[in-house]
Amino acid sequence: MSLIVNSVSKAFGRYPALADVSLEARQGEFLALLGPSGSGKTTLLRILAGLEAPDGGAVTFGGEDLLALSARERRVGMVFQHYALFRHMTVARNIAFGLSVRPRATRPSKAEIGRRVGDLLRLVQLEDLETRYPSQLSGGQRQRVALARALAIEPRMLLLDEPFGALDAKVRRDLRRWLRRVHDETGVTTVFVTHDQEEALDLADRVAILKDGRLVQIGEPQAVYNAPADAFIYDFLGGAVRLRGHVAAGVLAIGDWRTPTPDDAPQGGVDAFFRQDQAVINGVEGEGFLAAVKGMAQRGPAIRLDLEALGEPLELLLAAGEVPDFARPGGTVRIAPRQLRLFAAA
């Protein structure tokens, strides 16, 4: 029972929102759709929910054609970015809505609905708030009500649109772990949309990255993080340092620094990337490219180093023990990246 999206396209007027997107979410998988705003990720989610019709392509779930079904018939739980809770209904009635609108023949009894609502309230840890109205809840609580409401219909698939977008940082981190736990408990195939790469990498089983309506990479978080398919993804996944370099005869030149490259490296002008925390600081006599230390600050458990190399500012995030004494503002050091990835310069 997996979700298969096959070559889906959608345009709004003359603006293409999705172009030939294909992907698959396996049974019980937690899939993130990651991309900057305007990448088409929300459009794709709304197509899965039946709130938008694609111009072309196919969407199936367990072999069944989803596009032939209306939003109402799909039994897909959707959590909206701003929750879309029914403002004039209590928490309990919000959660019960999906069950209470079923045709009489398949509608559970009042008592049964009450029991199910109770179970869901426990699952989302909102037992005492069932008589409140949405306007009386905090953002995090609303989010959990929206999730419980979507789960109430026993959806075959759960769709979340920027589930943490409207919450502050602390609540966001707590809810993120909690959501993962709920997913593992219920085992529902879940697709969620986010523009936050950290969230996607932290939470998802696999991450699909979209850009300008196209799927540019899909894979497990570590694989995507360690082997981004192109410069855009490397940059977008965060913590990236980009340097301009030149490759000739198997040697990469960055400033006055020379280092051998693998055989399959692009030739000529390149963008060389490494992660902010993947570098060794050496003295001016040592290995690496030359950089001037401009400043230094504590950031969480790490130290942030503000540097300038090749006339451009760059930032490193290193553990305190990795920063030698001679790396002080005003000084000059050499930076040796642990692993560089090269992409032909755009």
């Binding site: 709130l51 938008e52 019709a53 939003a71």
Partner: protein, 283 residues
Amino acid sequence: MTLANVRAGRRRQAGVLPGFRLSMAITLTWLSVIVLIPLAALAIRPWELGLDGVWRTLTDERVVAAFRLSFGAAAVAAAADAVLGLIVAWAIVRYRFPGRRLLDALVDLPFALPTAVAGIALTAIYAPDGPLGALLAHVGVKTAYSPLGVVIALTFIGLPFVVRAVQPVLEEVDREVEEAARTLGASDYQRIVRVVLPAILPAILAGVGLAFARAVGEYGSVIFIAGNLPMVSEIAPLLIVIKLEQYNYAGAAAVGLGMLVISFAILLVLNLLQTWLTRRSRG
């Protein structure tokens, strides 16, 4: 709107919320039956008189006098509404005084009071033996049964439009622009002239436009106080009624169409002016 457009809309919306076809069908049917077809009758009917006949109807001296009164009095009344409306809105927004909420609620009375009731009440007040009419007659001003009476009735009718248009904008100005101007060291008078007035001018104009549009066509509150003397205090809508009573349908339609065309032209100009002012005060 053409049917083809509606179909295109339908296609684009397929699969989303239901009810497009039904709600559109109700909306378009109702608009057609209640607004479009009747107005089409108004647009067609006069021409059975021929271009010549329509021209002769509209340039008849009694019609010209009525048009002059209807549009003239409406313009004067709208201007009076601009002044009084600004004062009332200013008092309600800016100052705290006993009875402020009541005053605020009473602003809508001309909306809520049936026009015929307003008409006979205003007449009773401004008639030569009425409380204010006697006072004014004493100083030699005849109000009821004269063009001035028409202006008073139209001012009454139009007042809420200006107040309700200006009020929210004035509140907005209070919060935003003005504190900024104060921190820049502007004096109170400078702030009113340079900051407040330019910001609310588009709103005043919008309110004046609405008041004017309403006043031009107003009937119930005017006919009692006007005295309805041909050539002097006879308004254009009354002329339509008179022509209808003479079974001169085409003539009545010609006067009606003439009124509509002129007032839409004036409203269009006001609208453009307002857009221009808004853009200027934003830019």
